[in-house]
Amino acid sequence: MGDTSNQVSGSRDVRDVVEDVGRVAETGEVPSRIHNDREIHEVELERVFGEMWVFVGHVSEIPEPGDYAKRYVGDSPFIFVRDETGEIRVLFDSCQHRGTTVVRAEQGNTSHFRCPYHNWTYKNTGELVGVPYKNEFYQELDTCEHALESATQVDSYRGLVFATISESAPPLEEYLGDFTWYLDLNLGFVEDGFEVVGEPIRWEIDTNWKIGADNFTGDSYHTLATHKSAMDLDIFPPELSATGAERAPADVTNCSGHSCMLAYLENGTLTGGYPPEVFSADGLSADQFEIARGLVSSVGTVFPNLSFLQMNLNADPDDREVTAFLNLRKWQPLGPKKTQLWNWILVPRTASEEFKERAYDTGIATFSISGSFEVDDFAVWDGIAEAAGSTYVKKHRSTSNFQMGVGEMSDSADISEEWPGPGDVYDTNLEDGTMRTFYQSWYRAMTHRRIDAEREDAPSKRRDRRPNQEERR
């Protein structure tokens, strides 16, 4: 099988499974096995995490020259650093001498990275500036050739820094495509944007990374069941939830390969979650700004593994007020049944300290490791991977159902024509098109296509791909 084939690598079995995912738009089903399979995981590392743009961090995490944080693109270690000139870099964390990682801390500030093995020393630009005994034993070594390598492409959008280790990935702007309309809407309605509070909370769960990523495209159906207790207690006021009458819902599917859901109060009615003074119309269209002002809840996934969430929640309904915050989430694959979560809470930069604190507290009390929403998700998601990895699932080719909104299942309407933004948009949050988009993109990535079907005519150049293990066999 050739390098440039659109077929997925791997055994015939796995190829069939992936091809089945490719029909998700019509069938509304995906083989359960994709949620826990060693071989699929390995192909994903190469074709999804090795070819797509992956979120690294937010600019506000490294405000000062020398600030750095250790980050990962798939399983590859990187240093997310602001160099002494103020430029943000994403450097492969592997010494140019014998390859060990030069960063051992999670984050910090330094002008230089010194390798612990033989003490080669790099500036925070990546430049190699120190080689012990160079004049004696390494006289012909050209230090210019041995800078820490940058990720193949690095770019940012509205403060979100992404990197890809692929030479053939399209530029970030093109990769995000029309979905920038929704990123603008979610990030751009406050003056000066958002800032991260504290450090991302990290923890590990026994499930597949895709479960969280698909859920965060907009599984409003589960909110009513999994999160019933949070709604019963008004942590998520029921009038704001998917069954609430006041809110105008929209599910955004097929948006350059990404998807999201949102619900908002019409006519720009404020929800009260953010203080009125943080809003700023600059940089958004009138339509975007009106939706953003009334945003009740909003979740989405930038394929493959960056999700965002904005909700109006209350950590203590008796004594506190409904509060909004921006949550960023990265689903880092550690194995077919092991995911490391990275959770950031962001607040509007110009908000008062009092509000920032309340917003952060609301964020961690609802959407984090101890959050009253999330703790229940994690209790459920382990089970998906457990069953998906079983012999029964293989033998019986069990499937997972994403059929809400397929065919005549429901009377949701396509409102793309009158909707001001891009994508195929539906007038409900109770449909699975956002998740079908996610799996469609996964299928396209796994078969080496651009995730954006509309750019299929512009196939990526595929240079210098090394065959993976299956192909070498």
Partner: protein, 169 residues
């Protein structure tokens, strides 16, 4: 027994009783052991270089930063059948040790102690182990009984090896 010993014993007794309530899922009784102005915090631990200026325990990042009201809300949620994280409930065992009062002021005693929380829940032999040092402020109420007025849990983990924290530390 001198005052010092007596105080240590008294603190130990409080913490052991508290752990028992948590292990037995008697969360409403646990709430009664807290003062109305309790500050309950679990800062995010960050792996930093030796000698780094910033503390390993974050000033701004937290796994919990709760007051009485938010703790109460959490407890009320666990009463619900649909609170899946604790249905079925976690099986926990808290071992509290190295109890050492470090400061006394008026009605307050600051007591450091170490905690190991064993937790299992699934249908297998796996378990989570969460460990840390707690710095607690115990305050005497009008009856001279201790109540927990402040807790800071300094965890040993930076990346938590547990799917969620639907338990109290």
């Amino acid at each position: 027994m001198n005052d010092e010993h007596l105080l240590t014993l008294e603190c130990r007794q409080f913490l052991v009783t508290e752990a028992e309530l948590l292990d037995d899922h008697r969360l409403h009784e646990w709430l009664e052991l807290l003062t109305d102005d309790i500050e309950y915090r679990v800062p995010r631990r960050v792996m930093r270089e030796r000698g780094a200026e910033a503390s390993e325990f974050s000033d701004d990042g937290f796994l919990f930063r709760d007051d009485r009201g938010t703790l109460q809300t959490r407890v009320e949620r666990y009463d619900k059948e649909y609170a899946w994280a604790e249905n079925p409930p976690s099986r926990t065992r808290r071992i509290v040790g190295n109890v050492r009062p470090v400061e006394r002021a008026d009605d307050d005693v600051t007591v450091k102690n170490n905690v190991i929380v064993y937790r299992s829940q699934g249908d297998d032999a796996d378990h989570d182990l969460i460990t840390g040092e707690r710095e607690d402020v115990l305050r005497r109420n009008d009856d001279g009984e201790f109540r927990l007025a402040r807790r800071t849990v300094r965890l040993d983990q930076t990346v938590l090896p547990t799917r969620n924290l639907s338990i109290f530390l």
